[in-house]
Every structure is written in C-alpha cells, then in structure tokens.
Amino acid sequence: MNGKRSLLHDFTKGFIEENATFRMVIGMCPTLAITTSVVNGFWMGVAVIFVLTVSNVLVSALRKQTPDEIRIPVFVILIAAPVVIVELVMKAYMPAMYATMGVFVPLIVVNCIIIARSEAFAYRNPVLNSLMDGLGIGGGYTINLVVIGGIREFLGTGQIVFGSRAFPAKPFFEPAAVMLTPPGGFVTLGLLMTILNIVIQRSEQKKAAREAAATAHD
C-alpha cells in the first residue's frame, strides 16, 4: 500500500466519499441548527476542523496507551480540551458570532463526527493519517455547512449576508421564511443528500460499466 497515496486519500475522502453529513449522516444536530446562514455555518465548520484535527491527533498519538475499556471517556477528555480552546478564542475575538452560535459551541464536544472519527479512525491509525482525516472530514463538513447555510439563508431571507455586506443588496423575490425553520432545514438536507448520492451512484455505475467493458475485451 502506497503510504503517500493513502495520506492524500485520507484527506480527500472527507469531501465526497465519506462526506460526514450526506454519506455518513453523522453530526446532524448542529448541521440543522446552525445552517440558517452562511457565516454561521462557515465558522462552525472552522471550529470543527480545529477540534477534529487536534482531537484526532491526540487520540492517535495516545492510542497505544489508551486501554480499550475506557477509551470513550478518554476520547471525550481529548475532545473537550480543544473545544474549550475554541470557546475561549471565539469569546475573545468573535463575541457576536459566539453569541449567535450559543450552546452549539460547547456542544461540539458531543458532536457525533468528532467522537465517531476518534473511534473509527484515530484510535486505529497513525498520527499523520489521523491528521489528514481530521482536516478532510472537517473540510468536507465545512463545505456542507456553507452550502446548506447558503441555500437556506438565500431562500429564507432573500440575501446572503457577510458582515456588513449583503448579496444581493435587496432581495429580488419574496423569501420563504420556512427555510430558516427546521422543516426547511430537513428538506434542504434531504434534497442535497439525494443529489449527491445520485451523482455518486451514477459515477460508480459508469465506472463499473467501463470495467466490465475492459474485462470483456480480454
């Protein structure tokens, strides 16, 4: 097994193949709650990348020393540490965003994504791979949040707001408030999941067809 390729793969798989939200369907609570706007989604994603990567590295580094029976509480401690760091940093440098995100920042501790990756990957893989996994899954997750947030914010308020600037300046249609509510979130999520899965399925079918044609020639 080519070590270098595996590292790159560990990074890229988090974006499509093992997309946290649409393929593995983990970490759904904050996904639905925070994606009422793009910026909220983006900063949550950044927080998750940080926490996921740090915790993955720590768990992986300590994996040989961690007894199997108490591994979950150990994970939680190793996850809680970077979460506290994120909390304090946000409180200090982005108080408005911290206030908006509210309880979902400390809740990153119990975000399924992070504990799932600790258990399923970091506990069983070397540090460098776990680092790439954290970056990849976290990166993919951030993109998910931004996309969902973008759709919901745009359809729900008519514009996407970045700090003091809004695109478009004035909504050109009557926004549907339901998109900002949980039903709107679920519908958006469901539709995006459908589309991604259809795309993956069709590309796999094409790959299988190509391989079948190749073996038929032999």
């Binding site: 009557e174 549907a176 408030a177 039903p183 709107g184 519908v187």
Partner: protein, 329 residues
C-alpha cells in the same frame, strides 16, 4: 380453429372502476366549488387555480423525466392536487405561492416517495402547510371580499372567533353561499356539499370520513366551544366556517392516506376532527383542519395495522380458543 386466444388468470371480467375514471369524477365534483371561487372572488382566483394546476402537472412531468420514470400526468392525479391546493389558498395570494406550493406538493410530498399510491400525507395539504410556513403573511392576510373583488384586510370569521371569542353574525344562507372571507374553495359550502354528495353517491369516497370528521367537530364544539360553559357551543357554525367541509370531503378522503377498512376510515375521520378541535379551541391557530388531517394521515398505517375486519368464520376460532383456555385450567 387456429385462433390466438388470450390466457390470463381469473377473473376475466373487468370492473367499471379505473384510476383515470375516479380522478375525472373527483375533478368533476370540484367544479362547483371552483366556479363558486371565481364567482365570489373574481378573476385573480381563476389565475390562482390555473397556476396551481399548471405547476402541479409541470412539476410531475419534470420530475418524472428527470428520474427517468414514465410520465403519468395523464392519470389526472396531479390536476386534482393542483385544484385542491388552490382551493385551500386565500384568493388574493400572489401567483408564486400556488406555483411553488404545487411544486412542493407534487415533487416532495408525492413523487420523491414513489409517485401515485405512495405519498405519506395528502400532497395538497403538505403543499399548503409549506406555503403557510414560508409566506405566512400572504396566507393569513390576502383575502378578497366576496362579490366585491376588493382586497380585504382583516381576519376571517374563524380568525375573529379566535381573537375575540365572538363569531361575526353570519346567516346560514351567507355561510352556504360563501359570503365571507376565507380560502377560495372553502367558503361556498353549498358547492362543496354538492360535490361531496356526488362523490359519495358514486361510491368514490366513503361517507364515514366526512361524517366522523364533521361529527366530532360539531359535537366537540357544542360541548366545549363556549369558554366557561358546556354544551353551549355553536357546533353548526363550527363546521360551516373554515376549511372543515373542504377538508372533510376532499382532502381527508384521499385514498392513499386513509385506511383501507370502513371502520378504520371512520376512526381516521374522527381523529382528524378531534385534532382539528384541539387546535381550534386550545391551540394558537384559528384553523386546524390542515394539521388535523395531516396528523391522521401519519396515523393511517397504525390504524390499518390494528383495525382488521373479522374474517368469515372467525367466531369458530374464537370459540376454539376459549375452549382451549377453559380446557387448560
């Protein structure tokens, strides 16, 4: 004789029922209410109706083409969804409301789950619930004065009832003709009853659903309707106001989302009436028909699971079981 004969399993005779036939009859039964809507509320109501139907049919065709399935708009079920959604909207809504509502109803509440026969709730009501949540202002204020065709702000009679505890003085004649503010198709009770009676006589809908629905609403309002006193509520007005008749005869009776047994259908109607009653009397909305029916749609598989007819000869098995139990002692 060298004829080519067709061989199939029995029975070899086909009954008179067909999906398209049933759909056409339902459309036919909705015509009086549609005409009433246009007569009462003017040209814009007609546009809403047309936009809703067009969007429903187009959405179905587009979706089915996109997922490479057979396009089945010819069975007219999308037309009915479009009509029902339109009739449940305030007559003055901007046209994007029925368009998006129908698209949601067809694509999300029906086609994504597998098309005809697989929707898990009434598609028209799902569409209505969606637009209600999306554009609440339009759905609660875009009324039109009947016969005057002016935009009317203010509350519907049910809304007034909720806010002030008093229903505006409307004669039974007013209520039957539809001389009040309300959704396009819900006001003209006479037209709705005509259509509903037609469907019952033709054996297309089961009378037990509207009977259970309106019955519970009537009795419940009569008993609990007046705050502070019992058995003094105005049950009759309760069923003539709001979307109860429209919902009870045309929405709750959707085949796919109602039970398959007669008794089950009665329970479903009663359940929907009960939830509607709860929302109207003690919930925060003035009208509860949409959610009452939607909730009972969700309960239908449960009803089907437990309400099972007693099969022919069951009493013998019951006797055998009793004997076995008695013998065991």
């Amino acid at each position: 004789m060298g004829e080519k004969l067709l061989i199939t399993s029995s029975p070899h005779l086909k009954g008179p029922n067909s999906v398209r036939g049933i759909m056409l009859e339902v459309i036919f039964s909705l015509v009086p209410a549609s005409i009433a809507a246009v007569v009462l509320f003017g040209f814009h109501a007609l546009l809403v109706l047309l936009a809703s139907v067009a969007s429903a049919v187009a959405s179905e065709a587009i979706f089915q083409k996109a997922v490479k399935r057979e396009v089945t708009v010819g069975d007219f079920s999308a037309v009915i969804t479009g009509m029902l959604l339109a009739l449940s909207l305030p007559p003055g809504v901007p046209l994007f409301v029925p368009v998006i509502g129908s698209a949601f109803a067809i694509m999300i509440a029906k086609q994504i789950f597998g098309g005809l026969g697989t929707n898990f709730v009434n598609p028209a009501l799902a569409g209505r619930a969606f637009v209600m949540a999306a554009w609440t202002m339009h759905m609660t204020a875009d009324w039109i004065s009947p016969f005057a065709f002016d935009a009317a702000s203010g509350a519907t009679p049910l809304g007034l009832l909720k806010e002030t505890g008093q229903a505006p003085g409307l004669s039974i004649a007013d209520l039957l003709i539809g001389n009040r503010l309300g959704s396009m198709g819900e006001t003209c009770i006479a037209a709705l009853l005509l259509g509903g009676a037609y469907l019952i006589v033709r054996g297309i809908i089961d009378w037990r659903i509207p009977a259970g629905f309106l019955g519970i609403l009537f009795v419940g309002t009569w008993i609990f309707g007046k705050s502070g006193a019992y058995f003094q509520g105005d049950g009759l007005t309760a069923i003539l106001l709001g979307g109860a008749v429209l919902g009870g005869f045309f929405m709750a009776t959707d085949y796919v989302t109602s039970p398959v047994t007669a008794k089950g259908r009665l329970y479903m109607g009663m359940g929907a009436g009960f939830v509607t009653l709860l929302i109207r009397l003690w919930g925060s909305y003035p009208e509860g028909v949409t959610y009452g029916i939607l909730l009972m749609n969700l309960a239908t598989p449960l009803i089907d699971r437990f309400v099972v007819p007693k099969y022919y000869g069951y009493m013998h098995d019951v006797a055998l079981r009793k004997k076995a139990r008695a013998g065991g002692r």
